[in-house]
């Protein structure tokens, strides 16, 4: 693993090689390993180590980036030359700001202005996200866990497929104005599908700390779902009350967070264009972006090294604000949309420059409801509805009404008279996220969840009325 000290030395070498006005170097990489199983056997088992150095140079308002995974003198010289050659032929960008120094990156000035506007954004330290137990996972340890998962499948006369992965990674940024940030993290992830003859069940979880994962219990839950959903009935499409387990909830709501971006508003491609300050969702929906949350993961700084601030995105259904990279905030202040854009300040959510997408909130945290309901309580209070384990292949149908389509998968159940009645064939939905988040009847305590369609979040299970299923598939 590349250390901060080694990275600092490489940065010094790059700085000496560059003749640019400013230079910024991003580091990323680490070790990643994944054991994959299917049909009750390990069929793929991989490990890689790789580090990347990415150099951005600036000449008189012109900037560009070049990247390599080789750190020898020739490679570093070549990557600097590539970055400089690309930068020099760009057109000057009037929106390009000088690179931030350490003080600006720490966000002190932004805190002051937010407090002045009556919306303080407190800072908290990011908890440790590097755990020795996770870094020490071996192929043998992963295989031992897989063996237990397979045993659950075999005990139930079904088969299993899934993964157990582990990684340790670093992320760093240095620039010629003295900024220097570094983040180390581990992550372990387990995903399990149990397959019966005509049914399946699924569970997935990850954490920087592997001791938070319980693969055996996950296997038992997935197997129970597969068995309980056997011989699925065909139920006609239509509007149903649905109960989305947390992974299903995150996979569908994740499709709206690209729009909580100043650049997306400037580009008029966000469904929030003209809607900031409006009440779009139900009173019970409050959403933050908060990298410091104990159940979150990721680095506390953005692609320019700016400290990620805690940002209230939605408060009691009202769209409060969007996130901003530094340059986006400056552009928004000069734009015709500035009066409809909510508070305009850099929030530390920018992507590495140069880019065309600006920024995005990546550490979503749903606020706990006043009266949290467990999944069991949600089912018990449902006269007729559908319990959904997982959603799949979600895509945007309408960008402004935020209609998305997708399928249910791996554990879809009919609920009647407060009880799970039976498994049902999977549905296709076409549902507006605005409509959906206005119809949330109850939520569980939010927890760290992961899916396949969106990024990890702290999100509750949700019971939603009038969810729009338009078709049913063959299984």
């Amino acid at each position: 693993m590349l250390s901060r000290e080694q990275a600092a030395t490489i940065f010094d070498r790059i700085k000496k090689l560059s003749s640019s006005d400013e230079v910024e170097v991003l580091f990323s990489g680490g070790k990643f390993a994944l054991t994959r199983f299917a049909n009750n056997t390990i069929h793929q088992n991989v490990e890689e180590e790789n580090h990347i150095v990415s150099v951005r140079t600036v000449f008189g308002g012109r900037t560009a980036r070049a990247t390599t995974n080789k750190f020898d003198d020739d490679s570093l010289r070549r990557v600097v030359e590539s970055s400089e050659a690309l930068a020099k032929v760009q057109h000057p960008d009037p929106d390009l700001l000088p690179m931030p120094d350490s003080r600006e990156a720490a966000g002190e000035s932004h805190l002051r202005s937010d407090q002045a506007s009556g919306s303080p954004i407190p800072t908290r330290a990011v908890p440790t996200r590097y755990f020795e137990q996770t870094a020490a996972i071996t192929p043998q340890i992963r295989a031992a866990s897989v063996k237990k998962i397979v045993k659950v499948a075999q005990g139930n006369k079904i088969t299993t497929a899934g993964i157990f992965s582990s990684s340790e990674s670093v992320e760093g940024i240095f620039n010629s104005r003295g900024l220097s940030e570094w983040h180390s993290q581990t992550l372990a992830e387990v995903s399990i599908t149990m397959l019966g003859a005509d049914s399946s069940g699924w569970q997935k979880a990850n954490s920087p700390d592997v001791t938070n994962l319980d693969p055996l219990r996950m296997a038992e839950v997935a197997a129970k779902k597969a068995l309980a959903s056997a011989h699925p009935a065909e139920v006609p499409p239509g509007k149903y009350t649905v109960i989305l387990e947390p992974s299903a909830a995150l996979d569908i709501v994740g499709f709206m967070f690209w729009d909580y971006s100043g650049m997306s508003i400037l580009d008029q491609r966000s469904f929030l264009t003209g809607r900031i300050g409006s009440k779009l969702f139900g009173e019970n929906i409050t959403i933050w972006d908060d990298v410091t949350h104990p159940l979150q993961a990721g680095s506390p700084f953005d692609g320019e090294g700016m400290r990620r601030l805690r940002v209230p995105l939605v408060e009691n259904g009202v769209i409060k604000r969007v996130v901003y990279a530094r340059a986006t905030a400056e552009r928004m202040k000069r734009s015709e949309q500035k009066d409809k854009a909510g508070p305009i300040e850099p929030t530390g959510h920018g992507f590495p420059l140069p880019n065309e997408t600006g920024e995005m909130p990546l550490n979503i945290v749903f606020a706990a409801p006043q009266n949290p309901q467990s999944l069991a309580q949600m089912i018990a209070s449902t006269e007729r509805g559908v319990l959904i384990t997982r959603l799949w292949y979600i895509r945007e149908v309408d960008p402004y009404e935020k209609i998305v389509t997708g399928m249910t998968r791996d554990g879809t159940f009919l609920v009647e008279n407060g009880k799970i009645k039976q498994g049902v064939r999977n549905f296709r939905f076409n549902e507006s996220l605005i409509h959906m988040l206005s119809n949330v009847e109850s939520m569980s305590v939010p927890l760290r969840a992961c899916g396949e369609e969106s990024f990890d979040m702290v999100v509750p299970a949700m019971k939603i009325r009038d969810f729009n299923f338009t078709e049913v598939t063959k299984f």
Binding site: A38, N39, N40, I42, Q44, N45, V46, E47, E49, N50, R65, A66, T67, T68, N69, K70, V79, L86, V89, Q90, H91, D93, Q140, A143, V146, V150, A161, S191, I192, T193, D267, Q268, R269, T273, P354, E356, W392, Y393, E396, V397, D398, P399, Y400, E401, I403, T405, M407, R409, D410, N426, R428, N430, E431, H435, T470, E471, V472, T473, K474, F475
Partner: protein, 488 residues
């Protein structure tokens, strides 16, 4: 590089591997974008490294590293063997590889103009010219363009004696014009959405695409969509333009024929397939007109799935997938070929880069053109009442590849053989086999285009791969249209 690969193979053999291969890959890419008159991103990237894939104790192991020093390479090979032995702890049977003759070969993508020899100034000037054409149309609120070039040089050596050196080039370009007004965002893209057209070619592809010439029309269509009526809901004859049909092939034929999916190896993520083994040579996949091949050979064209050898040293092949409507073939590998009674791999194993395990990927999965002469105009003229849809806007299909729904950027209602009005937000849906059995007309060779899909995701960790899809405009009878907006 061969010496480096041999260090790995020697250590793997010494440690007890019964089979090993080493791939050293050097990748170079350039990505340029513009947005509303400015360069959006400009980046060059290179990545070099090596992976070692082994069978030891009858199970797979794979390790990859950026470190090409002799100690680094030998440690990576030893690690791969150790991982294989860990795999063997949860094993039901030993891996079986279909036999393959060893080969020594060199191959490079045929190209006329090295894309990296064209100056970045010229690249940016082209994109900004397109941008200015798009933004010149009143009502356009966002214009985006992109230009991408890739070069991948690979040395593949195996313990069976293969020694293959391939250099592959690809290029891609496209643009999108957005129009926001009222409560609606409409867009049009050219030559295709989500990155445009991609092929295994040099810079000559960019010159062939007529990017600037089409920009004004595309922007005008994006604005005009705001005045168009909503696509009607109901059952209609459907004509798909070739790029949308290319994606339809990708999703509802290309993925379900992947044998690893069929065998359950992708069940946890990408899903399985309705094409269970009993369906080979028994399932009526489509109508008599449907002929589909998986063809990685150079003679099929410059698709993103064109190569000389796959990433386990198997020569490029053409496999009949659907023959006069009958399902006749899967995409296979050396490990999976025996499950369908074949004694040779179909040659479809590919990896995203040096640090990824090769897996079954689509090559060029193409619907062959109609045998009788039929132009697009003649196809429309022979349609009494239908909807023509162009350019993908959204795509979704279930995890066994039965139920799909696609949205397109623009539609045209056809009455009595003529397009009578533009319609917005068109979508259609169906069940894969029902849909392909509803095909009753395919345009002929002159309307056929080999489209590139640069962003096909599969595997854990996920790998992104380029695939090719040849298609000509085609008609499908009585298809469900408009359900994407039903009930909303």
């Amino acid at each position: 590089m061969k010496q480096v690969a041999n260090w790995a193979l020697d250590v793997a053999t010494m440690r007890g591997a019964s089979y090993s291969d080493a791939r050293i890959v050097s990748q170079r890419s350039r990505a340029l974008t513009t947005k509303n008159g400015k360069v959006g991103s400009a980046s060059d990237a290179e990545s070099v490294g090596m992976s070692v894939r082994v069978i030891a104790d009858g199970a797979w192991g794979f390790a990859a590293s950026e470190d090409l020093s002799r100690p680094g390479v030998e440690a990576t090979a030893a690690r791969a063997v150790e991982i294989a032995r860990a795999s063997a702890l949860v094993k039901l049977q030993d891996i079986r590889l279909a036999p393959e003759k060893s080969v020594t070969a060199e191959w490079t993508t045929p190209y006329a103009i090295d894309p990296f020899a064209i100056s970045v100034e010229e690249n940016i000037a082209l994109l900004l010219k397109i941008d200015s054409e798009l933004c010149a149309v009143a009502g356009i609120t966002l214009a985006e363009t992109n230009l991408n070039f890739n070069r991948e040089e690979q040395w593949f050596l195996s313990s069976e004696g293969s020694d293959i050196h391939q250099t592959k080039y690809s290029a891609g370009a496209g643009y999108t014009a957005y129009a926001f007004a009222g409560n609606e965002i409409q867009k049009r893209s050219y030559p295709n959405s989500y990155g445009g057209q991609w092929q295994s070619k040099g810079y000559e592809l960019i010159e062939e695409l007529k990017l600037v010439e089409n920009a004004r029309r595309i922007a005008e269509e994006a604005v005009a969509l705001h005045r168009a009526e909503q696509c009607p809901e109901g059952t209609f004859d459907l004509i798909l333009d070739s790029s949308q049909l290319g994606l339809q092939i990708h999703e509802s034929i290309g993925h379900p024929i992947e044998l690893d999916r069929v065998l359950g190896m992708e069940a946890n993520f990408a899903g399985t397939s309705f094409l269970t083994l009993d369906k080979l040579r028994t399932l009526r996949y489509g109508s008599e007109m449907v002929n589909v091949v998986a063809d990685a050979r150079q003679e099929h064209g410059p698709g993103l799935g064109t190569f000389a050898y796959d990433d386990e040293g198997v020569p490029a092949q053409c496999t009949p997938i659907i023959t006069r409507g009958l399902f006749t073939g899967y995409l296979s590998s050396r490990e999976t070929a025996h499950t369908i009674g074949e004694n040779r791999s179909g040659g479809t194993l590919r990896a995203e880069g040096w640090n990824r395990l090769p897996m079954i990927r689509m090559t060029n999965i193409s619907l062959l053109p109609g045998e009788k002469p039929l132009s697009r105009e003649q196809l429309i003229a022979s349609t009494d009442h239908g909807i023509l849809m162009q350019t993908n806007r959204s795509w979704s299909i279930d995890d066994r590849r039965y139920n799909f729904q696609f949205g397109c950027e623009i539609g045209w209602e056809i009455k009595h053989g003529k397009p009578v009005r533009m319609v917005k937000n068109p979508s259609y849906s169906g069940i894969t086999t029902e849909f392909w059995n509803a095909l009753d007309a395919i345009c002929s060779r002159e309307e056929w285009t080999l489209w590139g899909t640069p962003n096909c995701g599969k595997g854990q960790p996920q790998q992104v791969m380029g695939t090719g899809h040849g298609a000509a405009p085609s008609r499908f009878r009585q298809i469900k249209v408009g359900s994407a907006y039903k009930g909303s």
